[in-house]
């Protein structure tokens, strides 16, 4: 019995609960300490909370948000820039809009690597996502799964595909999806602007809010907070409807 239990726990895809249940040095086998393949997110506060010190590359990251995850994309800009050096594809599957190429270029992302895929239906979306994850030619895969429900087995298929490669795999899903369980390595929710809530992560602390404050940003960093401070003095409201 014990042997069998050990074997199951040793499996990389066995989910173990909260870290505090396991006292002492015995770190869960699935906590991926052996695997330092994480990619720094470029946000110091977030990196500190993530188990591997960055985005895990051996599984999917699920990001739940309102509005198709439009605002959440800024989280991944520093990672995209880092991944540009690899010279592999950065695939956008079913993006709600088109990423603005000049901005990407200005951010140091090689736009020649950006591939946009527009599948026609749910089936094709899953297929394309899995293909991109399985092929070893992608450094990042961003997939907007849309409002539909996905079964656990479908998501697990994507998780296994992501585990087989070493690409950054991000699935954007609506907020409602957090009621259902998912096999992702990391599940996050964008609750507010600049506030990320970690729903779960493999072998790491969970249910924590991470505040991505502008002060802790790396210099020349995202989009999100680089807007100049709007001083009250020059807030001459434009004549709306004038």
């Amino acid at each position: 019995m014990n042997e069998m239990l050990k074997q199951i726990i040793n499996r990389n895809d066995t989910w173990r609960g909260r870290q505090r249940h396991f006292q002492g040095k015995s770190i869960a086998a699935n906590s991926d300490c052996k695997n330092s393949s994480a990619l720094s997110s470029g946000h110091a506060t977030l990196d500190a909370q993530l188990q591997q010190g960055g985005w895990p590359l051996d599984g999917t990251i699920e990001l739940l948000s309102d509005g198709c995850g439009l605002g959440a994309m800024g989280l991944f800009l520093p990672a995209m820039k880092r991944l540009s050096d690899q010279g592999r594809w950065q695939v956008f599957i079913a993006p709600p809009y088109i990423p603005y190429a000049p901005l990407l270029a200005a951010r140091g992302i090689d736009i020649q690597q950006v591939l946009m895929v527009h599948p026609k239906n749910r089936q094709e979306r899953l297929w394309a996502t899995e293909q991109a994850l399985r092929s070893t030619t992608c450094s990042a895969v961003f997939s907007w799964l849309g409002a539909q429900d996905y079964s656990y087995s479908e998501l697990r298929k994507l998780q296994l595909a992501a585990a087989s490669g070493d690409s950054l795999a991000v699935l954007f899903r609506p907020n409602q999806a957090h009621h259902n369980s998912a096999p992702s390595s990391l599940r996050m929710q964008m609750r507010e602007y600049r506030k990320v809530h970690i729903l779960k992560q493999r072998g790491g602390s969970q249910s924590i809010d991470v505040d991505l404050s502008p002060a802790q940003e790396e210099i020349l960093q995202p989009q999100l907070w680089e807007l100049p401070a709007w001083t009250a003095s020059n807030q001459s409201s434009p004549a709306v409807g004038a």
Partner: protein, 475 residues
């Protein structure tokens, strides 16, 4: 010193028309039987019989009498040459049913004569042919020896003239008159002729015959134009029954692609487009074009892409035949992935592109490009070709949104407030963009606005129409 292998396809007139073994088949030319299969031979049918005799012998047995088709023979011979090109580059067709291969130069490639001959034998039998072999230092001797018993025909250790001697002169059909007069003089075999002094033989039999004899024993050069592989490829597969489901096409696809890719490898050509033609039972054609972003000659790759296309195929009619054609071939270039790539990339980048495009369609996969334009919607383009990149990074882009809407969307406004999923408030602006005066003048004031949830939008006021629009979303 060279070594020639002559493959004489004695049954070619029959084999190019029918591979049937269950039923007697005979091929006729000018009302005379010239070739028969084993079933027909068992009935007592022999070469040279007339059609009437054959019918009498066959009696109740259903026998197929086919008219000889010389064009089909030539086509088959060309296909055999195409295959034999994978063995040696020096080869040509000889008579109407022979292929001459120079194999001295490729013996070390095949690690010896035995393995080479074994490969030749399996190659021929897998194509449904049988051939007589002849092995000699000159092509003409190899051809003559293909008529000899196999022991003599393949015994290259023995002296050539000794092997040639017992062969009858009647094999030399092109010198029928000379051979006839020699026979009247009591000379029956090649050995008899070779024993005569060449000078007197030349006076008696003419120049052409002595040239032939000299070429036969290697005293004179025998130069022939080498076979050139064709510049395009086309091959077909006939099922022999009606195919109704996609899965049944698979074996045919595999076989055609394998022979296609062998052809490509032998000729060192590549292609990035292949055409499948499904021939329906009502003789209607259905064309399917499979493209790949990179030229390649790997059949598994093409098979994968073809399967993706065939998965979406709905067979309206049953299919009788499948044709693989490739009109355009380019000289091969070997692409390779970086051996020392740390990211365990196992296939070239274009492989994913091909898979996605073949399954989802060409339009569904796009790449991004930048243009040096002032208007945001013109400054970028998404196209399925490789877009050019003429962008010079400017600091302007720092104020640009991550997402640009395909069309600016109108904003509702109430009093002093703008609404887009809730009320918007100003963060920064304006930035004026005016351009395109030569065509359709555009003048906009761009602002960055934020909604209650903290989401930033790129909003502009069209100065010409006094309308508010949202154009982009910040990430």
């Amino acid at each position: 010193m060279s070594l020639w292998l002559c493959l004489r396809f004695n049954q070619l007139p029959l084999e190019c028309l029918s591979h049937c073994e269950q039923q007697p088949v005979a091929v006729m030319a000018g009302q005379r039987i010239i070739r028969i299969n084993d079933c027909a031979a068992a009935l007592g049918i022999r070469q040279g019989m007339s059609a009437a005799t054959v019918r009498a012998l066959a009696d109740e047995e259903p026998i197929r009498l086919l008219e000889r088709d010389k064009q089909a023979e030539q086509r088959c011979l060309q296909q055999l040459c195409c295959w034999a090109y994978s063995i040696t580059p020096t080869l040509y067709t000889w008579q109407f049913d022979c292929v001459q291969l120079e194999i001295e130069g490729c013996l070390s490639l095949f690690q010896g004569l035995d393995t080479l001959l074994a490969q030749v034998t399996t190659g021929i039998s897998s194509r449904g042919y049988c051939a007589h072999h002849g092995l000699a230092p000159t092509p003409k001797a190899a051809w003559l020896l293909s008529f000899a018993p196999r022991v003599t025909a393949m015994a290259i250790q023995q002296p050539l003239e000794q092997r040639l001697s017992p062969l009858p002169l009647s094999l030399l059909e092109e010198f029928a008159a000379t051979v006839n007069s020699l026979r009247r003089a009591g000379l029956q075999t090649v050995g008899d002729v070779l024993a005569l002094p060449p000078a007197s033989l030349g006076r008696r039999c003419g120049k052409a015959f002595t040239h032939f004899l000299q070429q036969l024993i290697g005293q004179r050069e025998d130069l022939q134009a080498d076979y050139c592989p064709p510049s395009s490829f086309s091959d077909e597969y006939w099922f022999g029954y009606e195919v109704k489901t996609n899965n049944e096409l698979t074996p045919a696809v595999q076989q055609l692609l394998q022979s296609f890719c062998n052809f490509l490898r032998n000729t060192q050509l590549q292609t990035n487009e292949i055409n499948w033609r499904l021939i329906g039972s009502d003789k209607k054609l259905q064309n399917i074009c499979v493209r790949s972003a990179s030229s390649n000659s790997d059949w598994k790759n093409w098979y994968q892409l073809t399967c993706l296309r065939f998965e979406q195929l709905h067979l309206t009619n049953s299919v009788e035949g499948l044709v693989l054609a490739c009109p355009q071939l380019q000289p091969g270039q070997q692409g390779s992935i970086d051996l020392f790539n740390p990211h365990n990339q196992r296939e070239p980048l274009t492989a994913l592109l091909d898979r996605l495009r073949n399954r989802l369609g060409l339009q569904a996969v796009k790449k991004l490009g930048c243009r040096d334009e002032h208007l945001p919607e013109f400054a970028m383009l998404a196209s399925n070709e490789d877009p050019g990149n003429e962008h010079s990074t400017s600091q302007h882009c720092a104020q640009r949104p991550f997402w640009l809407m395909p069309q600016p969307e109108k904003l509702r406004h109430h009093g002093k407030h703008l609404y887009w999923n809730g009320v918007l408030s100003m963060v920064c602006g304006p930035e004026r963009i005016e351009d395109n005066w030569w065509q359709e003048p555009v003048s906009r004031d761009y602002f960055i606005m934020v909604d209650k949830g903290g989401q930033h939008y790129w909003v502009f006021r069209d100065r010409l129409t006094q309308q508010w629009y949202v154009h982009g979303v910040f990430a």
